[in-house]
């Protein structure tokens, strides 16, 4: 599956309890809407680390990387490129 869709599926299933892709826009804020909270960010980081074989540092847990599905996807792409 395409990477962005994989990430989105994880967020949908684990935070919105939905399979419906229309329930979350790729640019929609994961943070402001409370979709990802202080527990959720931890789950999301663990998922990305395992799924894409990355190590995510605390410095990288910032809004620029985790604001939306799009930013998470780009962040993972960058990480994979330098891994």
């Amino acid at each position: 599956m395409e990477q962005r869709r994989q990430i989105k599926q994880f967020v949908l299933q684990n935070f919105l309890f939905s399979e419906d892709e229309a329930a979350l826009g790729d640019e929609e804020s994961l943070i402001d809407g409370g979709i990802v909270d202080s527990t959720g960010i931890h789950e999301l980081v663990l998922y990305l680390e395992e799924q894409f074989n990355l190590a995510i540092a605390p410095e990288e847990m910032v809004p620029a990387n985790f604001e939306s599905i799009t930013t998470v996807d780009r962040f993972v792409q960058r990480k994979k490129a330098i891994a």
């Binding site: 909270d37 527990t39 910032v62």
Partner: protein
């Protein structure tokens, strides 16, 4: 502060005394006490033009931002009741809350997905005040200033509790409730005008509400953070803002401790850290104190029905009263009762009951619900615990969380405490799951990093070494995180549901 002062009277006084002092820092925006008071006056005049009368409800669907504060105090200047609602809630909660409180005005941000479409369907709502991001509330500076004359007996706020099921429960707090609890907290935290707090907890919850009003009442400075999601950002905010105080729930501290290397952080200004909103394991309290050796840790316990705080553990007693949530705050009486309501002696477990000037008047428009929890002035908290001979409270769990396995009753907290002491375990929650033979058996959900090499068997062996056999979890499941309510409490119901479905 004098407990006789209502919060609006207190803010009026401080604004007159130190108008140039910074009251709130909200991202790039900051507002002094004088400017804040002027905005409060301006928005109060606007609300009056809209026809808001004493006793009317003004609902706020806002994240933590300056205008959430302004709108609250403006409503109070008119004798109206502020109803701060969870900004992350969806229509299925917002609609019943707004209808139940009969809000006349709703203040919300432009772009909230659910509020605007809801309002035409709500009979009582006459006006919406829509805020653009980063913009001030509408104000009318032309009229005469309004005096802060709220009476202690008048209702000031309705807080809808984060209950997961049932009809809306609107905890109705008077100006007297808020003033008394605020004064008590200011006293034990020794809040001063030179304090500054990083406020991450939402103002629409009792705990965040308390953080807000205690710091304003002390003439201190609030730095607003929109969320507690990015651990390093929080720590940087603590450092750059020279923050002296930080309040969190256990999940806030779990995230910080997992992702921040505190040995590399210098937080010389941080004077106090407060924890409430669910029990924190002793192990986590220990790690937190180790990570922040210069800050005093205040472990506290409270309830929305009691405005916010009921007990606090003086930091110097953390070591000789481990696991205790401390002693009642000023003005609060506390007793332990049997199911019939008769007081029990020290050392005997029962339901925690409290009385004091912070105890709510009741649930909004719910005499039956009120009568269930308020009896002769005593609030039945639904929490189970005991007092030691010195009057320190130890909580064992919620009445409804008790697991009945065989002939035994097990408090989830006992088992969770033991699990948290295991190396690698970050947090754990246990629930009772149905069992044909024993009624219920204990299942533990464990967040461990790394997971113990011996897996489930190692967890059970660890528990067996510390606990009576009947308390050892029959089942252990490793999970990435525990489900929590928006206020950070573990959702045991969700864990049980997951169990039934699987």
């Amino acid at each position: 502060m004098a407990a006789a002062d209502t919060l609006p009277a207190r803010l009026a006084t401080i604004s007159a005394l130190v108008p140039t002092r910074t009251a709130v820092v909200d991202g790039e925006r900051r507002v002094s006490y004088g400017a804040l008071w002027a905005q409060v006056q301006g928005f109060a005049a606007h609300l009056r033009q809209l026809g808001v009368m004493p006793g009317d409800r003004v609902a706020l669907v806002l994240p933590n931002r300056i205008e959430a504060i302004t709108a609250t105090y403006a409503a109070w200047l008119l004798g109206a009741v502020a109803v701060p609602l969870n900004v992350q809630a969806r229509a299925r909660d917002l609609a019943p809350w707004l209808a139940h409180c009969g809000a006349r005005v709703v203040v919300h941000e432009h772009g909230h997905p659910d509020v605007a479409p809801l309002l035409p369907g709500l009979a009582t709502v006459e006006h919406a005040v829509v805020l653009e991001p980063g913009r001030d509330l509408p104000g009318d500076g032309a009229g005469a200033l309004l005096p802060a004359t709220a009476s202690p007996d008048e209702p000031a706020q309705i807080l809808y509790t984060s209950g997961t099921t049932g009809a809306p429960k609107g905890v109705t707090l008077t100006h007297g409730n808020l003033a008394a609890n605020t004064a008590a907290v200011v006293e034990y935290l020794r809040l001063r005008p030179d304090d500054s707090v990083l406020a991450v907890l939402p103002f629409y919850y009792a705990y965040g509400n308390s953080v807000l009003h205690t710091h304003l009442a002390a003439g201190a400075c609030l730095h607003l953070a929109r969320n507690a999601v990015f651990p390093l950002q929080l720590v940087e905010a603590l450092a750059s803002g020279r923050i002296t105080g930080f309040s969190g729930v256990p999940s806030t501290f779990a995230l910080l401790l997992q992702h921040v290397d505190f040995t590399a952080q210098d937080l010389p200004h941080l004077r106090y850290v407060t924890q409430a909103g669910g029990a924190m394991s002793r192990a986590m309290a220990g790690r937190l104190r180790f990570a922040l050796p210069r800050a005093q840790l205040f472990v506290m316990y409270g309830q929305t029905e009691a405005t916010s705080r009921l007990t606090w553990l003086p930091p110097e007693r953390l070591d000789d009263k481990p696991g205790s949530v401390g002693v009642p705050v000023a003005g609060v009486s506390l007793r332990i009762c049997d199911p019939q309501g008769a007081p029990l002696p020290a050392g005997v477990e029962g339901e925690v009951e409290v009385r004091g000037p912070n105890v709510m008047r009741g649930y909004w428009r719910d005499l039956e619900g009120t009568a269930r929890v308020l009896r002769d002035g005593w609030l039945r908290t639904g929490d189970i615990g005991h007092l030691d001979p010195e009057g320190f409270l130890y909580l064992a769990g919620r009445r409804s969380d008790m697991i009945k396995t065989g002939a035994h009753r097990v408090h989830p907290g006992d088992v969770e405490e033991a699990l948290a002491e295991m190396p690698g375990v970050i947090e754990a929650a246990v629930v009772g799951i149905d069992d044909e033979v024993l009624g219920q058996v204990i299942k533990a959900f464990v967040v461990a990093r790394p997971p113990p090499p011996g897996g489930e068997a190692e967890v059970r062996a660890h528990c067996r070494a510390l606990l009576a056999p009947y308390k050892v979890p029959r089942h252990v499941e490793f999970v990435d995180a525990l489900p929590r309510t928006a206020s950070g409490k573990v959702r045991r119901v969700r864990l049980k549901e997951a169990e039934v479905l699987s």
